[in-house]
Symmetry: C2
Subunit: 151 residues, 2 copies
DNA sequence: CTGTTGACTTAGACAGTGTCTAAGGTAGGG
DNA sequence: CCCTACCTTAGACACTGTCTAAGTCAACAG
């Protein structure tokens, strides 16, 4: 689905080599990289690309809605190229891996007006947390170490 | 509900002046402060308290489940003393304010096993995003500026 | 094809958030 | 009242992200 570049052209973006490699990295494996990971992969294709350019480009892609920003822990944000399908995230508490999940039922379930406290609610994020298969295998009985909660 | 100190005593915590003021700040208004805000308020009560101690204490409170850590944007984490009632969060995209909401229906709705990709799911976080009443009043028509999405 | 121009990129300084270390202080049990 | 293990401190450090000034170049006009 490398029509990301086509969409960018349609938006009259100046198509520089730097923007092309960033788009290419995002179009690749459908994972959720951090900005630094994207920079590293982009630099493998175009060694002189700078951090600032990667941050700028990601910020613009997020602003126009082609990429989603995901902040799961307090660490680095991750970038999700799957912006055109509503979905939720499954996050590993141990390694931070993120997987997209496409629920059959939309749990958006309107928040009752009485519970909105005057807020204008525009969207809802649902994040499932736990351990990915690899980490669950590694920590085995340590599953009880999962004493931290968040919802 | 200042039995937080009682619970800490029961856990055989050394009750130092520093830990007491941190607990006191958390027990106060039921808001969601950042670590720096907590440090500032604690320092108003005990001027020589250090940042490291506030971070240490918050980390320990989170580890034992007396306080929840909430990372909504990529900025500073916020600390939620309301750890003993399952709840969700309403977050303002403009000012970052967080409100607890206690939904009548639990949208946890089990994630279908087929959608778990082998993850061991231990909990789910639901975050409603939008504008708080104050920010909605301020930006008025700019509501359409909310082009970013996250779920 | 070539020139022009404004948008883009760069390196590096800077800022916010959080972690770590070594040294000194103190709560709480004896 | 003393000890000692645990706690606190100041400050250095690391990570993530933002900003600036100067140089570069994609795209368009001619």
């Amino acid at each position: 689905m490398s029509d990301l570049l086509a969409r960018l052209r349609a938006r009259r973006w100046r198509l520089t080599a730097q923007r092309r490699v960033v788009a290419q990295v995002l179009d690749g494996d459908h994972v959720h990289f951090t900005a630094e990971e994207i920079h590293a992969r982009a630099a493998a294709l175009l060694p002189e690309i700078s951090r600032a350019t990667v941050y700028n480009t990601l910020g613009e892609l997020v602003a126009i809605g082609e990429v989603l920003e995901v902040s799961t822990d307090g660490r680095a944000k991750r970038y999700d190229p799957n912006a055109h399908h509503a979905h939720q995230h499954l996050v590993c508490d141990s390694c931070g891996t993120i997987r997209d999940v496409h629920p059959s039922v939309d749990p958006l379930v309107g928040l009752p007006t009485a519970e909105r406290y005057g807020f204008t609610v525009s969207r809802v994020a649902v994040t499932y947390r736990g351990l990915c298969p690899d980490c669950a295998a590694g920590s085995a009985g340590a599953a009880s170490a999962l004493t931290d909660a968040e919802a």
